[in-house]
Symmetry: C2
Subunit: 266 residues, 2 copies
């Protein structure tokens, strides 16, 4: 035969794997060619080339070197290979989902930034965080709202993503501007009213009712809302939030009065 061995350089050339990487594979016992006694140079035979191609193939499918070491021993048993591949596929599908979510969030954020220009970084963070944890938010909501109504709600939202994001940012900005004003000042009330009306565009009445009913029924003040806060941090400081709570409270009582008035008039 013209040539029995390949030098490490040749192997690197042929396969595109760096010399250092071949050293490393030798070091960890993944691919251990014989060595020339005198020079210590590595001598790769054809069977090792084939093994290397197997390694490259497995690696390209996302397996770790440790896993590959096992798989190389088991390549005769096709059954364990099948298992490994199916598992690996599940893992990659998971990764796909996560990537899709990220791209989605990035798309929405990019649209928003293009549209709005400057955005308070805290508000932006809050939005991104919220978009990224939407699944968990939905899970949380499923405790209180039945899945069907929720699915419907999210479907509706899905078509108006960019509008809603913009609304969220704008209301947050305006609220931050008004922070500190008396809770019963007309500007504040006007904004809250506007905000409420805006939200009502997207929230079905039945969803609202179910939720309102639950809120009164359960004592979720402590435990559960804390969990939600963890899932979706607000864009406001503690101070702002305190003020905002008062605003809401005032608005609710006023709103309740008006409701009574309305129903009396009917």
């Amino acid at each position: 035969m013209s040539k029995k061995y390949y030098s490490i350089g040749e192997v690197s050339e042929k396969t595109g794997v760096s010399v250092r990487t071949l050293h490393y594979y030798d070091e960890v016992g993944l691919l251990t060619p014989a060595k020339n006694e005198k020079s210590g140079h590595r001598q790769y035979e054809e069977k090792e080339l084939i093994t290397l191609y197997k390694i490259i193939s497995f690696k390209s499918l996302g397996f770790s070197l440790d896993r590959i070491k096992e798989l190389l021993k088991e390549t005769n048993s096709t059954h364990s290979l099948l298992d490994a591949f199916q598992l690996q596929k599940e893992i990659m599908l998971q990764q796909m989902k996560s990537l899709e979510k990220n791209i989605n969030t990035l798309n929405q954020t990019i649209e928003l930034l293009k549209d709005k220009g400057e955005i308070d970084s805290t508000i932006l963070m809050s939005l991104i965080y919220s978009l990224q944890t939407e699944d968990k938010q939905k899970e949380w909501l499923e405790q209180y709202i039945d899945k069907e109504a929720l699915d419907q709600f999210y479907e509706k939202i899905d078509t108006k993503r960019d509008d809603i994001n913009k609304g969220f940012v704008e209301f947050s900005e305006k609220l931050k501007e008004l922070y500190g004003k008396p809770v019963d000042s007309p500007e504040v009330m006007a904004l809250v009213e506007e905000c409420y009306q805006y939200a009502m565009n997207y929230i079905d009445e039945d969803v609202m009712e179910v939720f309102a009913g639950k809120v009164e029924a359960e004592d979720l003040e402590n435990l559960d809302f804390k969990q939600l806060q963890n899932i979706a941090p607000s864009p406001f400081t503690k101070e702002e939030e305190k003020w905002f709570d008062q605003v809401i409270e005032y608005y609710m009582t006023k709103y309740a009065e008006q409701e009574i008035d309305d129903s009396n008039e009917e």
Copy 2:
């Protein structure tokens, strides 16, 4: 105020980031809270909590900590954020493509393993490698075949993936079995004929002609085929390949004779 500072434990609890990781962020200068002079305990203020949420958000979008450190400084300039997000989106789209390719390969391999049971690991490797580098193969082919015909060809193939993979494996196995037999033995010739016919199911005549013409026209024996070998290693050993080359050569001369006979009879 009831509470000015959060302890590291509280922050960890609130955000889900481990204490050790918070230590780490402090160490690398990503999030450096003040320290109590006496005890050395870290004291997180609300602004640092907000920063931490920003960090979490950016991290979930796939940014490195170094990049995040820069982004945190630039959060006021929305412009650089937009750039960063757009770049990040491109990166994630790339990753998506790569993942899709992997899942595709895994799916095909899984189907094949389910269908065939035992498969020679070298043949399997060759197939996987080939599936994973299909893009590069196509690029290589584009040098010789015009894109339109090629696209058409791949489209056709795409609908019959599993069949073709199975065919590839079976012909490879059979060829390996026959290795060593005389190149003009009837079994060998029958297999090659069968293989040729099988391939013709998928290769359009015009593609074949273009390619055949090119093969004669150019001297791509050396440079370019080496490149292809790098892209798609064969499932055969050097010895087997040598033998196979002879088989093909013999087949081609025989085929050429037959062609002449055929045209004479017409």
